[in-house]
Symmetry: C2
Subunit: 481 residues, 2 copies
């Protein structure tokens, strides 16, 4: 408003309505002025550069075109029908996989910039593949460029934490049985907690477990799935949400439902009682076993939304332990990155913040698909673990609904009277409301070779959203009608 | 107050504070008088006879002795440690079981007074045991007194719906590993839903399933348990409450957790792949499989509270389809009964209220132990099924907390910020607050031979509580210090 108009208004008031920093209010109050505080958030946190960018995309015709594009992207996401169809060997089934190639979580990264847990996983992978005889030899080989590193996301795959996929590893095979595609997606099998490769550990017990997984677990599950037939994962996830899972830090229900679904078929495979019993005991002992299925399920659904021009919906959030990266439906394959953040969480006895690696893993694909932190209200049993109350969990889910394109009627949250879970994070809503996605996650030790040290909550860095916004505005300039 | 005093007060007011029936208020309002309504419930619903009985037990010394007795009874209940230790054959393991004896749910009942579903189950039991060649022959045998009927509860057993136990049936064996006892408790294995013996069906498919259960399921589970070792059922129940079960009408989590616990051991038993696979598939296909374990778990805990003089805590609520009966900790084995009530619920397609048998089964032992309707808030996913909202479920749990002796810290309800579930129904609180226990249940067809037709909510008849109150007052007169 003009200064004249402001002065006219001010003559008529005997108090102050203040939009701004609290210290101004404190000063006015100290001077005896009556102050009314208003819960107001300026768009884009008041950042003029971002406000200017948002003004471009809020122009009426373009805004309508973007809204239509997001509806299309969300519709494709919701129509995807990820089914578990088999288990194969990474080197044989993942497109573009090669003998000298290791896949990892998050955006591209070199050995030089790789975090401790990713380095630890690469060392373990080289030992597992027989390409090095010791950790020192493996480290040396990696430093000399003896192994190529590419993101899982570049190969229709995802991986939790370090997310390492080496050619000999067994991987789940998912197929989209929705209307648009028969595309396949991949993820390794979950190793369990503690000293495991995905948290950067590579000791003998880690490698021995990985060999059991390659020689017995993977093949037995492949045979059981051939006997059982495809499993509708979206349906299984819907049930798990009604049984206290949020799909990221709590997967007990999903793991239980998967085991009871597969057990009758697993028993029929031509393997010894001892092998089948070990397979069932391995799954039973690991409440996160289902995570490595729900992650490629989420990837499958989000990939269906890729390639819709003008869609500002996120299709990827992923971290390599050094960088956090996102991708947009409008610009598939293009990473926008920022520094991986510290995780606020609880630590295992004997560990603390100083031990923690920054945020790592492709598992933020769960939040990208509206699960994990976005479905926190479904999992009151974990809120105590991450230091919150049930009300906090419900507030988080409702808050995340403010930055999504819509919701997913296939996934409902009983505690919120069967509210459809938020779905499809909108870059523009994140920027405008100045509200970052909430992510549940595990915490890896910052040194190679140690493993998991805790679990907690994290948000992405603002940088990746800001650079995505700038690029999206240029994309609109090129693509808009 | 005296009439004089009332008149003095009335002179000073210009409105009416009314305790009583709404029509009086409506009359006053119609006459233009300002009316303040107060949410007030007179003790014992204003019933002078019950008020007089309650006044006896509220006398200071006696009230203190009763409170101490209930603390003792509740403490014994909480200290009980029911473990699943095996599977045996009813005729061999249940104390007092005999060739000509069938056990049934609820208080004692004769063939003449038996409801349709109980008659149907007895007919099926006689066919199963080879004591009759046709339903007509079985009915004739039963009518001539050819089979003795006794309550499960008289034999350390419980049974859902008709609750029929015949000598050849396999039964779970539970053992109390708590400080007070090594006593054993028993329950048949759950058959699944629809056309099943416990709902009064006795067709060829019902008998064929029961033969599979006796010949393969029971023995395989017995061998698996011998391999696995005892299972702590209270701990399993605690997990299931965190996964959306209330333990009576929803048992999906309990069933899943039991299956994953037993599967690795089941695979090791010396049986064909086909048999083990059928066992796992049978359990997987029946989300209520765990109910027949949680019921004897509840019975085990409540039995630990039996025999505490002056304890007004309920140890049994059970129905035979004709009568509803309760027992008190102070007077073990003594039934107080009233007519079984109609269940308010939802019906399977093609069935309605006219088809429904009154309330039947020992499964109200779940509510007696603080689960089922008492833990409704733990299972938001079933509230829609029984026609309510999440808020209704939470209100029911809090409401039931008003009539219990205390709560159970081992069983918490995530949605209510990990509130300890209500535990130990106090007869005196039920009477004083005029508030009946809320029970979740299935609905059986009233004719023998049909099976389940729906599920819903029910309350006990007042008669059993009123007669228990009168008897309890006499008991106090005899026992009090």
């Amino acid at each position: 408003m003009s200064l004249d108009r402001a002065n006219v208004l001010l003559e008529r008031v005997d108090g102050v309505i203040h939009f701004g920093i609290p210290s101004v209010v404190e000063g006015a109050q100290a001077a005896g002025v009556e102050v009314t505080t208003v819960d107001f958030q300026p768009p884009a946190g008041g950042d003029l550069e971002r406000i200017a960018l948002l003004e471009v995309v809020r122009e009426a015709d373009l805004a309508a075109a973007i809204a239509a594009a997001n509806r299309e992207a969300l519709g494709r996401f919701l129509a995807s029908e990820p089914h578990l169809v088999g288990v194969g060997v990474a080197g044989e089934v993942i497109p573009g996989m090669a003998d000298d190639l290791f896949l990892h979580a998050g955006p591209p990264v070199t050995w030089e910039r790789a975090s401790g847990p990713l380095r630890g996983a690469v060392i373990g992978g080289l030992l597992l593949e027989g390409r090095a005889g010791s950790a020192a030899e493996a480290e040396d080989l990696a430093a000399r460029g003896g192994v190529r590193l590419e993101p899982c996301h570049a190969h229709h795959a995802v991986g939790p934490m370090a997310g390492l996929v080496t050619p000999s590893m067994p991987v789940w095979i998912l197929e989209d049985r929705g209307p648009r595609s028969g595309e396949r997606f991949f993820c390794t099998l979950n190793e369990g907690l503690g000293k495991v490769l995905r948290y950067g550990a590579f000791g003998p017990e880690v490698l021995e477990r990985l060999r059991f997984m390659a020689e017995i677990l993977g093949p037995a599950l492949a045979e059981a799935l051939a006997e059982h037939g495809p499993i509708d994962l979206k349906h299984l996830m819907a049930q798990a949400l009604h049984m206290g899972d949020e799909g990221h830090n709590r997967n007990r229900a999903g793991t239980s439902l998967l085991l009871r679904e597969l057990a009758p078929a697993l028993v029929r495979v031509e393997r010894s009682r001892d092998q089948v019993s070990r397979v069932l005991a391995f799954i039973h002992a690991n409440d996160h076993f289902f995570l490595n299925l729900s992650m490629p399920m989420a990837k499958c659904m989000l990939a269906a939304a890729e390639g819709v021009p003008l869609a500002s919906m996120l299709t990827v959030m992923a971290r390599n332990g050094t960088d956090f990266g996102i991708q947009l439906a409008a610009m598939p394959g293009r990473w926008f990155t920022g520094p991986a953040q510290a995780v606020r969480g609880l630590y295992f006895p004997g560990f603390g913040e100083a031990d923690a690696n920054p945020d790592i893993g492709d598992s933020a694909i769960m939040e990208t698909a509206g699960l994990g932190g976005f479905a926190m209200a479904a999992a009151p049993a974990i809120v105590q673990f991450v230091g919150g109350s049930v009300a906090d969990a419900e507030a988080t889910t409702r808050e995340m609904g403010r930055i999504t394109c819509g919701s997913n009627p296939a996934w409902t949250i009983p505690n919120l009277d069967f509210l459809a879970a938020p779905a499809g994070i909108d870059l523009l809503a994140v920027e405008e409301k100045n509200l970052l996605p909430a992510i549940n996650t595990g915490i890896a030790h910052r040194q190679p070779g140690v493993g998991q040290v805790g679990a907690g909550l994290v948000t992405p860095p603002w940088e990746c959203f800001h650079s995505a916004l700038a690029a999206f505005v240029r994309h609109c300039d090129k693509e808009s009608p």
